[in-house]
């Protein structure tokens, strides 16, 4: 008997599972890149601005931000359905998490493209 759910990311377990795994790789790649950049470059304003002025890095950053949003949604949705049994508080927590992630993504676009 399949369990119905309308609040998880993809309405399907295998979809959420894949989002979680793929986004984890993106996040790991971005983190490793930033570490590498900081170790190999003398990071000052010029270097930092130079890195973020390149389109490929803005895309990489936006992709990471979206991956973070998806990853966090799947993870926090799981935590909230494990531990918050009453529907209203659970829905409110999920709504709060969703709002924060949405704000981060929009804000991130604004920062990356200097809008």
């Amino acid at each position: 008997m399949a369990v119905d759910s309308v609040t998880n990311l993809g309405r399907s377990g295998v979809y959420d599972w894949m989002v979680q795994r793929v986004s984890a790789y993106v996040l790991a790649l971005y983190t490793l890149f930033l570490f590498g950049f900081m170790l190999t470059t003398d990071v000052d304003y010029e270097a930092w601005a130079g890195l973020f002025s390149q389109t490929w890095f803005r895309m990489f950053s936006l992709g990471t931000l979206l991956a973070l949003g998806g990853h966090a949604w799947v993870g926090l949705w799981t935590v909230s359905t494990d531990y918050i049994k009453a529907t209203l508080p659970r829905f409110l927590v999920q709504a709060a998490c969703g709002t924060v992630m949405f704000v981060y993504v929009v804000w991130g676009i604004q920062i990356l493209w200097g809008l």
């Binding site: 399949a2 369990v3 759910s5 998880n8 377990g13 295998v14 494990d82 531990y83």
Partner: protein, 234 residues
């Protein structure tokens, strides 16, 4: 040896309590935990627990011994004893009926949900549905499950969502039928499992593997189910 026994009789007790009993184990001998329970029951016939075959085949006497699930009949006291103390509790996460006897309905309901029987609507052959030795080998490590519930009741995901997450025992059996070359309902079976709870609540912590008294590996079976779902969806 001090035995601390979980006692609860809903007709007389307002809440469960732990009863401490001193038990002498004969010098130079090791007993199974079930033997200790028999000794306790001789002294106090009101002690309630399930048991049947007393040799690890029927799966009736699953319980929590010093924090670890297992079958009392095949667990030597020396294996679980800590500081000369043995704490016996019912399987965690299931409603207690009395003392060590738990209500296993929700566990069986999850087992039922995976349709634990061969589905094949093609006309039956005269004698039996044949299977190659290689295909038969794929069922090894799956069919041996005795449904003692030690694994599912050691699983936090099953504790939090016993109504939605099938649990390791049910999923091991789900894979037993998914892997059966004679079964023709693989697609329907997978459709029933492809939701965010039934399979994917497994976080792979492998408590099920570490407690299984038959040495089975539900986590591996769950991984196989996940791969089947992934292959079907990509």
């Amino acid at each position: 040896m001090l035995v601390s026994l979980y006692r609860y009789n809903p007709e007389t007790d307002s809440a469960p309590y732990m009863q401490d009993v001193e038990v002498e184990i004969p010098e130079g001998r090791d007993l199974m935990v079930l033997d200790v329970l028999s000794m306790l029951k001789e002294r106090d016939p009101s002690v309630a627990y399930r048991r049947s075959c007393r040799e690890g085949v029927c799966g009736s006497d699953g319980m929590n011994m010093n924090g670890r699930n297992g079958l009392a009949c095949i667990t030597p006291v020396s294996d679980v004893l800590k500081n000369n103390k043995l704490v016996l509790r019912p399987l965690p996460g299931l409603p207690v009926i009395r003392d060590l006897v738990v209500d296993m309905n929700i566990f069986y309901r999850q087992y039922e949900s995976i349709k634990p029987y061969l589905i094949n609507n093609s006309p039956e052959p005269a004698i039996e549905r044949l299977q190659s030795p290689e295909d038969r080998e794929k069922l090894d490590g799956l069919y041996e499950c005795i449904l003692c519930a030690c694994c599912s009741t050691a699983c936090p995901s099953f504790w939090w969502n016993p109504d939605k997450f099938v649990g390791p025992a049910g999923l091991l059996q789900a894979y037993r039928f998914l892997a059966d070359s004679r079964d023709t309902a693989q697609d329907e079976r997978l459709s029933d499992l492809d939701d965010p709870f039934s399979v994917f609540r497994c976080r792979g912590i492998m408590n099920c593997v570490s407690v299984c008294p038959k040495g089975l590996n539900p986590t591996r079976a769950i991984g196989h189910i996940r791969n089947l779902l992934l292959q079907r969806a990509t």
